[in-house]
Amino acid sequence: MRTRFGDRVLHWYTWLIILWLSSPIAVMIVFGFNDKKSKSNTSWQGFTLKWYQELFAIDGLTEALINSIVIAVVSTILATTLGTLLGLAVGRYRFRGKGLTNFLIFAAISTPELVMGASLLSLFVSANAPRGHVTIIIAHTLFSLAFVVVTVRARVVVLDPSLEEAARDLGAGTWETFRLVTLPSIMPGVAAGAMLAFALSIDDYVVTSFVNGSELTFPLWIIGSVKVGIPAQVNVMGTLIFALGALVAIANSVSSRRRAAR
């Protein structure tokens, strides 16, 4: 009986932690419907859909959100391309410099964001490079790249090399073999890496705050408005991004479960 009681306590405890982790999200969603009159958005003043109708009423905020999306898309494409190639190299081949490459990937993941941002700023300042969209994309590609390598490498190492040999035996060229055999087999790793890259980019504050110049992204705009009061539109945008992300994740897990069932 004692052990069962312990398990029940742990069960409740796990739910308590989940509840705690989600409570700020619930607050964010609920206060997107708050009919607030003052600048601060901490007390409930009635239900409204006003903020959903006026979602794009704040020019600076809308612009920051668009910036974030554009930067996330471009840096995801770059990081996924570079990361997939690098992941193939370290996952499949033995070559001179492989150890160093693995170390660089580990270093890119474990360097504190603050140090990464600060060092990139040092480079851009030394090179007299103007800061803006381009420097943010460079930085985001850098920290996403390593994560793509890790997810792709995990797929590549379990790839059966005889499949590619079979393709070549059947007369496929290097490019055809890659496009028709290799790429489809490592695709789940590539897709996971791309999703991770997108999420990391759209969420990033610390690195971006160093290399943005005067360009604002969504997280930077929000931090900038903490002192003067966050408009409720921020809650609405946060809610919509949250809903979209959760839906994509659920759809992804459902489709992979179907694939597994087949």
């Binding site: 405890y13 989940i18 982790l21 901490t42 060092s119 040092s122 790249l145 997280p219 991004i241």
Partner: protein, 283 residues
């Protein structure tokens, strides 16, 4: 093609990592040894005085960051281990659902999550405002702008990064090993202490690594949830770089922070055994 293939595949990634990771860190090392200011320019003098000056000036914030980061990491370990344990051994067919729920907050931006957590803790917010209205709490009670709020925020933001690696390690534990311990008359506690816990240490190591470094260097929680007395080293580095344009001091501070974190990880790795470090690094 053949033998050169890996080099062609790796080349673009190498260039990116080389130009934007290795070169900048070298550039920062060089900047940290210069003297001068933004208007007159910086001259390379190879002076280490930036380091001693910066450490002397900001030792309080440096120590505070390490204490906050350390306490937060310890709390995450204590809070997170039981969750990972329960999901790994008792989650049954619902394991992935529990993991999904734990990761759900990550679909909201880190900054926004921290601000929402601040909403909850606000003096007149839904939690404390209500309790004050009922007379449960004194009217001058506050959590926001205190050490508790900052450490609480760090724990809140990074907890899933502690739970996941421990879960992965526990999930790999073969249940037959635990049964064997029971067959050899181990008590539940002994089986945990001498079988399960040692097997989960690589996960604990990865979890600590994934939480201690970002928590110690984080400027967001202190800025959003803390008061003037809670400034962390991350905030100082940001201000020195972006507001004061004092690049030599800021670079010296960044390097000091990285060195301290590396030394911390190294000591921690030595006490846990180097094999675990290599294993964690290889992942």
């Amino acid at each position: 093609m053949g033998r050169r293939a890996p080099y062609w595949l790796a080349l673009p990634g190498w260039l990116w990592l080389g130009i934007f990771l290795v070169v900048p860190i070298a550039a920062m090392a060089s900047v940290s040894l210069t003297t001068g200011n933004l208007i007159e320019g910086f001259a390379q003098t190879l002076s280490v005085s930036n380091y001693s000056d910066a450490i002397a000036k900001y030792s309080t914030q440096l120590v505070r960051s390490l204490v906050y980061g350390g306490v937060a990491t310890l709390l995450m370990l204590l809070l997170g281990y039981p969750v990972a344990y329960w999901i790994a051994f008792k989650g049954g067919s619902r394991k992935s659902m529990y993991l999904f729920l734990l990761l759900l907050p990550f679909f909201v931006s880190f900054v926004l999550r921290t601000i929402s957590w601040g909403f909850l803790l606000a003096d007149d917010g839904i939690l404390f405002g209500t309790l004050k209205g009922w007379g449960v709490l004194p009217t001058d009670f506050h959590v926001l702008a205190t050490t508790v709020a900052v450490i609480g925020g760090l724990v809140y933001n990074f907890l899933p990064f502690m739970i996941l690696p421990i879960y992965v390690a526990l999930e790999r534990v073969d249940p037959r090993v635990i049964e064997a311990a029971y067959d050899l008359y181990a008590s539940r506690f002994d089986a945990f202490r001498r079988v399960v816990l040692p097997l989960s240490l690589p996960g604990v190591f990865a979890g600590v690594l994934m939480t201690f470094v970002p928590a110690t260097a984080d400027p967001v929680n202190a800025a959003v949830l803390g008061g003037t007395g809670n400034t962390m080293i991350g905030n100082i580095i940001q201000t020195e770089y972006l507001v004061n344009s004092n690049y030599p001091t800021a670079s010296a501070l960044s390097f000091t922070l990285m060195a301290v974190l590396l030394i911390g990880i190294f000591i921690y790795a030595r006490t846990l055994g180097t094999d675990n470090v290599l294993e964690a690094a290889a992942r």
